[in-house]
Assembly symmetry: C2
Homo-oligomer: 448 residues x 2
């Protein structure tokens, strides 16, 4: 950890990020003081004490981060980013009223490539300003969405939707699959973009479609991104309609394997937790969405202790209402303690790990991102901690999780490219984004 | 609401705060667009449309808040602000380990007037930057604390501690009471400062002391600020030691009345909720502290529906780890929905009311602060909403509670005096505060 990887000659280093603190996430819980992270192109070369790194790479460009902690970019492991345009459209409503009388009618009115593109652009700006460098996207028009992330140099796993009813994206099961494969092919090999199958939920996708996408996800070696056990009602309905819980049905269809990214999971039996661990399923916990929609409580500490890979997601902005992974970390740690009845549950370092390396592993990108390690992609964020709200400073990781706000994120790099520089977005015009958001607001509000 | 109060002649108005939106809190849920709040000295004169207010008060100074929402200052109804100096000292620990092995030893080492003063100053800076204009303080050295709030023009109800063990503040029950009365006398009649009795908790205060302070609080007409039913353990211990729940014991001692500000209340029977309502007790809900210390879940929605006056507090920075009332509102609304299993629980307007007018009522200051109404004190905050993170904008109150961050607070007035101007603290030196915080950090860390 503390030496520049010798397989990379010093002259390969083009940039030294010189930070007051570095939290690499791996090894777990470590805080390095006055260290540099050395970059070569899109990669991390290594970490070394500032002076040593300078001696080794005298010609590298230096970025001074004297009041900052440098850490891996946060990974938002479950989002519906076009819905950022519906932030605050309909709050404080029972789940079904919210969906059926507000969200779906609004979506029916505006859903299309422009909506997907503009919503994702607004989301990218918000994510970058909040230290998120990668997201696991789940929405219609994945072609437009993937192209938007690529154009802005933002790393994303883009879900290929499968659902048994027609939308503006596809009219039939056949068309969903055809389009999914076409989008997968179009973005195969893209440096920053991956694709996954995104069957909506057990109650909106048929057994035949699950079997088909399971086969395809095996062949293509891509994840399956699924809302699962979000509410007690979902479990109850499945018992009524299929005689088994959704998890058991997914098992019988071969879906419970290490390709699966299972989102929400508020209803879990001990036996299911053991099977999840054994099968290598990743869970995405969305504490704020689960609270705001009163969906139930994910047994997050029980999952962590069982050794399950558990990541964090904000869910869409219509049910959160932000893409703030700092806030989500804080909520996750707090809620895990409350639900477990144990103040030592979800300690700060484990929470930060959930928001970084565990997210990477869930996406199948654990060897590529999620920690500051030699050879990994340079997805990094700097957070200024010299503020009233983060004083005094006893413990850097604790401060990041429990006290820092996302507005303290000063700089962001994705694949070595600076995307946020001292709070200013590089190559994105905030006024233009807000003007577009206002245009959509007018359209959406008139439909609601 | 919409006209300048005719009992105040127009020439009395010295300042017009011209806002894009005004949320007065009373009437409930109202959002006024393009309105001015007229001030005369330390008071609110009224609210009127911008143009009309200008016509009526042509010579008043105008403050343009074109992208802002103006609302009453937030009221933090339970804090231990000197402990801001212990932010992040010891996290992720079981409650008793945290208290006995970390917080109490550190307090024993540093407790004194300088610690109280410097901690409160750091807290004032944080509160002002986060839109809090009043707090309900509970700590030792109330003389120093009250003087510090007064010196900085910050509104505070300062608790006069009573506890049955010696501290640096007082050595005996007699001394606690003597000093309490002396501090009460010293600050009687101060415009911004009130005092309350602050018996620590049922398990640390004797029946005799409760009876005595009950009598005094009646005589002096001041509140009683008490941690009550914070954990299930507290209730269990009381049943063992006193044969009754703490609430029943407090009832028998005459403490359950409309002077009582009962903090936490995670353990409540339906019958207790009914008695609380009937007696006019105010509850302070501290959702983040209750989660972080795994204390239990306050039935916040049940209390609200029962008509109980329920306010919000952050608790101290050692168990939160911030004084962020925006974050606390969000957590309160989310948690109430989750605990009630009802997404319509604690709607945004009710949550904002808890953080403002209900706090004022809890302190006995419901006629003085907590809403923008003619005759009330001009404790006001402006929040900029023209940011990526609060776009688009469907519903102002929803945006304040679910999407805005405290760093969007631009301006703060207390009793008509501007304390924060476009994010800059008036009359407080941030660097100096942080240097002091660092000095205390060194002292406290060396004692831990």
């Amino acid at each position: 950890m503390s030496s520049v990887n010798s397989s990379h000659p010093p002259h390969a280093v083009d940039t030294l990020l010189e930070a007051r603190w570095v939290v690499p996430v791996e090894p777990h819980g470590v805080v390095l003081e006055h260290h540099s992270v050395a970059l070569a192109g899109d990669r991390i070369v290594g970490i070394a004490p500032i002076e040593l790194a300078r001696e080794r790479s005298p010609n590298a460009k230096r970025v001074e981060l004297a009041q900052h902690v440098l850490l891996p970019g946060l990974i938002n492991a479950h989002t519906h980013n076009p819905m950022t345009l519906m932030r605050g459209l309909a709050d404080d409503l029972p789940l079904m009223t919210w969906l059926q009388q507000h969200i779906w009618p609004a979506e029916a009115k505006v859903m299309g490539p422009e909506y997907a593109r503009d919503g994702v652009e607004l989301a990218i700006a918000e994510m970058l300003r909040g230290g998120t460098t990668c997201c696991n996207e789940n929405y219609f028009f994945p072609d437009v969405i993937a192209a938007t992330y690529r154009r802005h140099g933002f790393r994303a796993m883009v879900g290929l939707p499968v659902i048994e009813f027609p939308t503006a994206w596809a009219k039939s099961t056949e068309e969903y699959f055809d389009k999914a494969l076409a989008v997968h092919d179009e973005f195969k090999g893209e440096a920053l973009i991956g694709t996954s199958f995104a069957p909506h939920a057990p109650y909106t996708v048929s057994n035949a479609s699950f079997e088909r996408l399971r086969m395809l996800s095996d062949q293509l070696d891509i994840p399956v991104h699924l809302h699962l056990h979000e509410t007690a009602q979902e479990v109850e309905d499945s018992r009524r309609d299929h005689a088994v819980r959704p998890f058991a049905r997914m098992q019988s269809l071969g879906i419970i394997n290490d390709h699966l990214i299972a989102v929400h999971m508020t209803q879990l039996l001990d036996s299911e937790i053991a099977q999840i661990h054994e099968a290598g399923v990743s869970i995405v916990h969305c504490p704020e969405s689960n609270l705001k929609l009163a969906s139930g409580f994910c047994p997050a500490e029980q999952l962590r202790r069982a050794g399950v890979n558990i990541a964090l997601g904000t869910d869409g902005c219509a049910s959160n209402n932000d893409l703030d992974m700092f806030g989500e970390m804080r909520s996750a740690a707090f809620l895990a303690k409350g639900v477990a009845g144990d103040a030592s549950a979800w300690d700060a370092a484990s929470t930060l790990r959930a928001a970084t390396l565990n997210g990477a592993k869930a996406l199948g990108w654990g060897d590529r991102i999620g920690s500051i390690e030699a050879g990994k992609q340079a997805d990094l964020i700097a957070v200024r901690l010299d503020d009233i709200e983060t004083s005094p400073m006893y413990n850097v990781i604790s401060q990041l999780v429990y006290a820092a706000g996302r507005h303290q994120v000063s700089d962001v790099w994705i694949a070595g490219v600076r995307k946020l520089e001292n709070r200013v977005l590089v190559g994105m015009d905030i006024r233009e984004l807000m003007t577009k958001a206002q245009m959509w607001q007018t359209r959406i509000a008139s439909s609601a």
